[in-house]
């Protein structure tokens, strides 16, 4: 089974969020970048588990970005991916990313394409679905479980009030959410091996962007918290009714 995993680089979950150039750009000054957690913990690790269970196949990662993403890509290789591809492009919207991934993947015969459910910076959750559309493959977002039996994929996903079990045929694209796998910490052997694993840089096809993020703002500062003594806890319900007017 040939598996492609979409890997994105994002600011660390605890990174300070600030903007530069009159709030038109994310201020990456002093920020540590990591593999997007949904891509790493769930999509990549599940891909490795499926390959290991089968005893054959390959796991390729693909990242759309500049040379500054290579340290992050090596982390994915250290966790266990066999090879990595970097499409050398500075994409500015999800469509560009998806079009670059689809252009690379279209004639490579991947059986399964896995993406995280969203990136933790732009939170769009678009790229997996767009890649599926451009490759004319079925896609299921927000999958918390994935089993592959022959050419049939069985996917579970949490829906409001329960769990939905879906079945579809390979090749397909799956958006990975929490539950699909457990995080793997790379060991020293993996880190050493990652240094010599193939990281292929392919040129961009440069499709035009169809949207632009033009401005950022930070949410308004929260007012001071109003403390209520525990003995008078019932007063909270009263305040929610008369003051906050939410109940």
């Amino acid at each position: 089974m040939k598996i492609l995993v979409l890997i994105s680089q994002v600011p660390d979950t605890t990174a300070r969020i600030a903007f530069a150039n009159n709030n038109t750009q994310y201020d990456a000054n002093g920020v540590t970048f990591i593999v997007n957690p949904y891509d790493e913990w769930y999509a990549l690790v599940r891909a490795l588990e499926l390959k290991e269970a089968k005893g054959s196949g390959s796991v390729t990662t693909i990242t759309v970005g500049g040379a500054d993403t290579e340290a992050t890509i090596r982390k994915a290789l250290a966790i266990g991916a066999d090879e990595a591809v970097r499409v050398d492009a500075a994409a500015s919207d999800a469509y560009q990313v998806a079009a670059e991934v689809a252009a690379y993947a279209k004639d490579k015969g991947f059986d399964l394409v896995l993406a995280g459910k969203e990136t933790i910076d732009f939170n769009g959750g678009q790229v997996g679905a767009m890649v599926a559309e451009l490759l004319e493959l079925p896609y299921v977002p927000l999958a918390s479980k994935l089993e592959v039996n022959g050419t049939t994929a069985t996917v579970e996903r949490d829906v409001p009030g329960g769990v939905e079990v879906l079945e579809l045929q390979l090749p397909c694209v799956i958006g990975a959410a929490k539950g699909m796998a457990e995080q793997r910490i790379p060991n020293m052997r993996g880190i050493m091996a990652a240094r010599t694993k193939p990281l292929q840089v392919v040129p961009a096809t440069n499709p035009a962007p169809v949207s632009a993020t033009v401005l950022f703002e930070l949410p308004p500062a929260k007012g001071a918290v109003k403390m209520i003594p525990a003995e008078e806890a019932g007063k909270l319900i009263e305040l929610l009714h008369t003051e906050a007017k939410v109940i």
């Binding site: 949207s211 929260k222 019932g234 009263e238 305040l239 906050a244």
Partner: protein, 312 residues
Amino acid sequence: MSTIVFIDTRGEKLPKAAQEAVTYASQLAGGPVTAVTFGDAQGLEALGAQGAGKVIVARGVKAVDGQQLTKLVCDVAAAENATTIVCVADATGKAVAPRVAARLKAGHVAGAIGLPEGDRFKRNVFSGKARAFVEVKSPVKVVSLSPNSIAIGQGGGSATVQDFAGDLGPARVTVKEVRKAGSGIPLPEAELVVSAGRGMKGPEHWAPVEELATLLGAATACSRPVADMHWRPHHEHVGQTGVAIRPNLYIAIGISGAIQHLAGVNQSKVICVINKDPEAPFFKAADYGIVGDAFEVLPKLIEAAKKLNAER
């Protein structure tokens, strides 16, 4: 030039998210819009109240099959000469909206949180820690609306409902099973949420949390450790890796407020935090706070909620 809106209307009554999306689409268009849906739903005429002039239903589609639904939306968009396609940023919309956008080479606003300011749509980024303004560059735009972003329109009128007659190709995704876990209020669209964490000390202590939620008409939620320890089902987990919610009221009991939890709830309009540790980081994000033991505070809240319900 027209506006269409794709909604999921499965379920016993018209979902709140669907009514919000139709309202939003008709506000964007400044007039009636065409709604597109699928499945067995009855009573779709009622969407006229939110501004739907016409509802087109693909009765044969039962599951969220992204390819069939994308073809449905694109076919209706072509027939209606649509330049704006509204969807919902939920589990159904995420399987369809980006596909529609990619097929039409249209810009997609993923998770708009209100009407645009000029050409700029506002959305949450960095897990709610910032907002971004997005402009669409293409002639056709796709806008997915975040649940709980606008008030549902309450106009008069009745929509005409017609079946979709075209061919959507074979289903490629089939539903094998749906496992229900209770009949509570769906978390993503709940306006009031009562949530509890490790401070409850064990699953056997959840009765007062559920009682308070029932009295307030709220949904129940939980923190990640609680879901991971199987004290509560996973679909109740709110936070960065669980469900992100934007209710009017979020009451957090025995949850310390780790940054990953805050990422899923920081868009709540009013946040109440009950924790016995006065240093719990959650108090910094709260509007109301009580430092106290959950097992002493909860009975007082339940008593007050009963009193309030008796008065109104």
